[in-house]
Symmetry: C2
Subunit: 140 residues, 2 copies
């Protein structure tokens, strides 16, 4: 069995929080906006639209888990959702919480987010704990 | 019955091609990349993740129609898909065909596409005709 590997660019950019049923859940290290990245554990290459419909539906449902976390726990209603993958070919989904007072608004974050701020290790642990307790996140 | 209206910013930015079962299909006027925008005809406010699951599934399936058109008719495999809506609050989905030789690559188009090129009216008609003949597009 070949071990599934998350692309090194994603691992470099993100904290690895755990996994849902299908997807690994990552948190972008830039804390200026709440930015989750979901990586389905699949052997299949290709875009979101290449997935078999039930698998695509599950991947999007799990993106919905990140949406609910952002809305319920971070009091942030507006969501930007995207599947881009121009740089990292491994399929991954972006779920980004946005506010009119964030420093990138109204531009989308991709290619436009200039400010940076780090999460503290305690904050990453706290986010992970809430995701595990209330949103079915499992450890990797 | 209140007439459904597409947001004026989308109408200004796009050619209106027709409609699918749920969504109006628009083509961004900037021909540098093939860029479709789908606007579900719904009374519901909110993001993609606020839609009832069967409606969201249909909206994404119709985005898949734009994906198939881009891949089959324009010989362009890479797709960027997004629901953003930071400027236009009306729910709309972006389906963008990308190539390593387009002038914006690898940046996502939103906020980063500087070059512009217009479609000819004949080209818009030809795209509309193929969508109608092979991809179930109806006139508005």
């Amino acid at each position: 069995m070949v071990q599934f590997e998350i692309h090194h660019r994603l691992l470099g950019d993100c904290h690895r929080l755990g996994r849902l049923q299908l997807c690994h859940l990552l948190l972008h290290k830039n804390a200026v906006v709440p930015w989750f990245i979901l990586v389905p554990e699949l052997d299949l290459p290709g875009d979101l639209f290449d997935l078999p419909e039930p698998v695509r539906r599950l991947a999007i449902a799990e993106a919905g888990t990140a949406v609910r976390f952002i809305r319920n726990e971070l009091d942030c209603d507006k969501i930007n959702f995207a599947a881009i993958g121009n740089i990292v070919p491994q399929l991954h989904l972006h779920v980004v919480g946005r506010r009119p007072d964030d420093s990138c608004w109204p531009a989308p974050v991709w290619g436009n987010l200039v400010d940076t701020r780090d999460y503290t290790p305690a904050r990453v642990r706290a986010i992970t704990d809430v995701l595990a307790q209330k949103y079915s996140l499992k450890s990797c």
